[in-house]
């Protein structure tokens, strides 16, 4: 598998990672030991029969490989690209103990991309049950749940507030990691199962809650799209963005191609991104592609970055400069940003063991001259719809409380994905959605 050179890729939004060739894929799949008790399957939240599909790849039977994957995962081209495999399937692959794990994610991606070129054969759908299911949100959780319920023969409608489906896959993760035509194709496959999609519908407003509750089952998959702000002075100056806004302007609205597209973005010549997660890395790499010098400010050490190691490496190669052990205390300027004042941080281990905590070093203020600040410090569950449903129990962080079956405190209403767990990962959202959808199917059988 090869990557495009950094100096080339910072000039466009085309995919960084070029994927495996067929021969590379076969050779890689042949490394699999075909374990009797495959640890890898336990590491995959949707339990793909990994040795099964790897065996098929090794035999060059890519069609069968694709079918095996699709039994458990309707979005394989997406997952093969964005799953944090190093902590999931590949993280527990037995080969990883002594050498390198099988590159399961890359192989999944290879098979999905191969299948897309051949024309996809959709799984079969059970005869119509006449039951109506409403799925709210078209991110990975909503798409997965919709596919699962549609396969059981229910009439499923997905409601999405934006003008495009896909949730974070569409507006959040940039095209150089996840090309948008691939997202589109996998969405079309879900719709191909007979799932209805209503865009521009903000449920709770475009569809009142009492009408929503008139469905035989409701599955909330509204995600964790509420951006947090640090709450420091200067935050509302022109040029301060939440990562959500910055990424939405570019990924969904194509502000990188302004004025051909109408939505503008301030691209800036010097950008500070605050945060150390995947979202921060994405924002920093997008800002680089808009031509800016980019600093990434993180309050802990580089070793503590919650982002995937591969993405940190990509960001570094692309020239993002890391300022670790630093914390912004004030954004300077008016009416637009001119700089950000930071404090240096020191890592102190609290007495009761635990993770070392960053503490500010007194008198260590320094100023970084920047004209854009992007805050990527986290997101919470979207409060709008869930606050409108009477009796819906929520946790401290605003997340919808669910039981093991994915059921909420309101009869007939289920939830899955980031709205229940808080910001997590694509595949965890999908795993939870599958479980919740199966509960819905069980419940509807009895209804």
């Amino acid at each position: 598998m090869s990557k495009r050179p950094a100096d080339e890729r910072v000039r466009d939004f085309a995919e960084v990672d070029l994927g495996l060739s067929a021969d590379e894929a076969v050779a890689e799949a042949e490394r699999c030991l075909q374990c009797k008790k495959p640890a890898c399957v336990g590491g995959c939240p949707v339990c793909i029969d990994i040795p099964g599909f790897l065996a098929a790849v090794a035999e060059r039977d890519f069609t069968r490989a694709a079918e095996i994957i699709r039994d458990e995962n309707m979005l394989p081209a997406i997952c093969g690209r964005v799953c944090p495999q190093e902590t999931q399937c590949e993280g527990v692959c037995i080969l990883g103990i002594k050498s390198v794990p099988v590159r399961i994610g890359s192989l999944e991606r290879f098979v999905a991309d191969w299948e897309r070129r051949q024309g996809i054969v959709l799984p079969s759908v059970a005869p119509a049950t006449g039951k109506r299911v409403a799925v709210i949100g078209s991110g990975p959780a909503g798409l997965t749940a919709a596919a699962e319920c549609a396969r059981a023969g229910h009439a499923v409608t997905i409601f999405e507030s934006l003008h495009e489906a896909g949730g974070v896959l569409t507006y959040g993760i940039p095209a150089f990691r996840l090309p948008k035509d691939i997202v589109q194709r996998e969405i079309e496959q879900v719709l191909g199962l007979g799932v209805g999609l209503k865009l521009n519908h903000l449920v709770g407003r475009s569809l009142p809650v009492d009408e929503l509750l008139g469905y035989d089952a409701v599955l909330l998959a509204t995600g964790a799209g509420l951006p947090y702000f640090m709450g420091i002075p200067g935050e509302n100056l022109g040029g301060v963005y939440s990562a959500n806004e910055f990424l939405t302007r570019v990924n969904l609205m194509h502000a990188d191609r302004f004025p051909e597209y109408d939505t503008p973005v301030r691209s800036g010549s010097r950008v500070a991104v605050i945060g150390g997660g995947n979202v921060a890395m994405d924002a920093a790499r997008v800002a680089r592609r808009l031509g800016a010098k980019v600093y990434l400010i993180y309050r802990r050490r580089e070793d503590d970055f919650p982002a995937r190691a591969a993405e940190v490496a990509n960001a570094r190669e692309e020239g993002v400069e890391f300022l670790c052990c630093a914390n912004p205390v004030r954004i300077l300027g008016g009416p637009v940003v001119t700089g950000v004042e930071c404090l240096r941080m020191e890592m102190k281990k609290p007495d009761e063991s635990g993770r070392p905590e960053p503490v500010p070093v007194e008198g260590s203020e320094f100023t970084l001259d920047v004209d854009i600040v992007i805050e990527a410090i986290g997101q919470g569950p979207n409060p709008l719809l869930v606050s409108l449903i009477p009796g819906l129990e929520r946790g401290r962080k605003g997340n919808v409380v669910i039981d093991d079956a994915g059921a909420t405190s309101v009869a007939g209403v289920y939830a899955a994905g980031d709205v229940a767990t808080g910001a997590a990962t694509v595949i965890w959202a999908m795993g939870a959605a599958k479980a919740a959808a199966r509960s819905v199917n069980e419940m509807l059988k009895k209804k």
Binding site: H201, E235, S242
Partner: protein
């Protein structure tokens, strides 16, 4: 796609469109807005729902930049790519007693629907509408019908009272008991007019119009400071307690993209000259 059912110019640079959008029409209440995107390349812009008739909603807008200018060029039968809504919290309609509903400029678009709902809830409603000159006054007949009393004013005296809505409001507050006030118009007008009611301690709402992207609470572009706290106008508003709003910050944030907006409009006009029609 959402079809434009009727399109008319109602005043200098101001247009009134009826758009077929059943999901918005069926659920819209006073004070709410929609977000539309004309085509694949379009920006998402918020416009107040100014009326409902069956499955259609009315928007009244001023052509100020690229998107509104392009929209103004469209005609009945044309289609708009996306219409999302209704968005935002509805107006706090209840029996307040005596209410004043003030519209300034294109802000008048929002007022009849608010006045009507307030009236239906048992209030006595006094309307004040103001514009720079008589040619820019909107929806006067509708407001006259919706309100118990209506005062019309113009900055240049070409129609009605010669002066600003703020002057009328001041007089009203001195003479009568007013229980709640709505002020909708340009930010500077809302700032000045709501300043008048502050010393009287009368509950006053303004409908804020920061720059928005999604309009659903997921980006924070629309953040405003109200009572010292950051709020998202698209989901926490757009109506807020006027006496708590940081208007100066709002006005600053409305200007974040002036350069790009100018470039975009110029480019649009150039294209128009060259091909005699809108951007293809």
């Amino acid at each position: 796609m959402y079809r434009i059912e009727k399109a008319a110019k109602t005043a200098e640079n101001i247009f009134e469109f009826w758009i077929h959008a059943p999901h918005v029409a069926r659920n819209a209440r006073a004070g709410q807005f929609l977000v539309l995107r004309i085509d694949e390349h379009g920006e998402r812009i918020p416009l107040t729902v100014s009326g409902v008739d069956g499955d259609a909603v009315r928007v009244v807008f001023m052509a100020v930049g690229k998107t509104t200018t392009q929209l103004a060029r469209m005609a009945a039968g044309d289609a708009i790519r996306d219409v999302a809504g209704p968005l935002g919290k509805p107006t706090d309609v209840k029996d307040w007693g005596t209410c004043v509903v003030i519209g300034g400029g294109v802000g008048i678009a929002c007022t009849p629907i608010i006045a009507r709902e307030l009236k239906a809830a048992g209030n006595t409603v006094i309307g004040i509408i103001g514009a720079r000159n008589a040619g820019l006054l909107l929806l006067e007949d509708e407001m006259r019908e919706a309100c118990d009393e209506l005062v019309v004013c113009t900055d240049d005296g070409s129609k009605g009272y010669h002066g600003f809505p703020a002057d009328i409001l001041k007089k009203l507050l001195a003479e009568r008991t007013i229980d709640a006030i709505w002020i909708i118009g340009p930010a500077i007008m809302m700032k000045i007019t709501s300043g008048v009611s502050k010393s009287f301690g009368v509950k006053t709402f303004v409908s804020l119009n920061p720059i928005m992207v999604d309009g659903t609470g997921m980006c924070g572009s629309c953040r405003v400071t109200v009572g010292g706290e950051t709020r998202f106008a698209c989901v926490d508003g757009p109506e807020f307690d006027a006496h708590e709003v940081d208007f100066d910050e709002l006005m600053q944030r409305q200007r974040i993209y002036v350069d790009q907006e100018r470039a975009s409009l110029e480019r649009f006009h150039e294209h128009e000259c060259r091909c005699g029609r809108e951007d293809a």
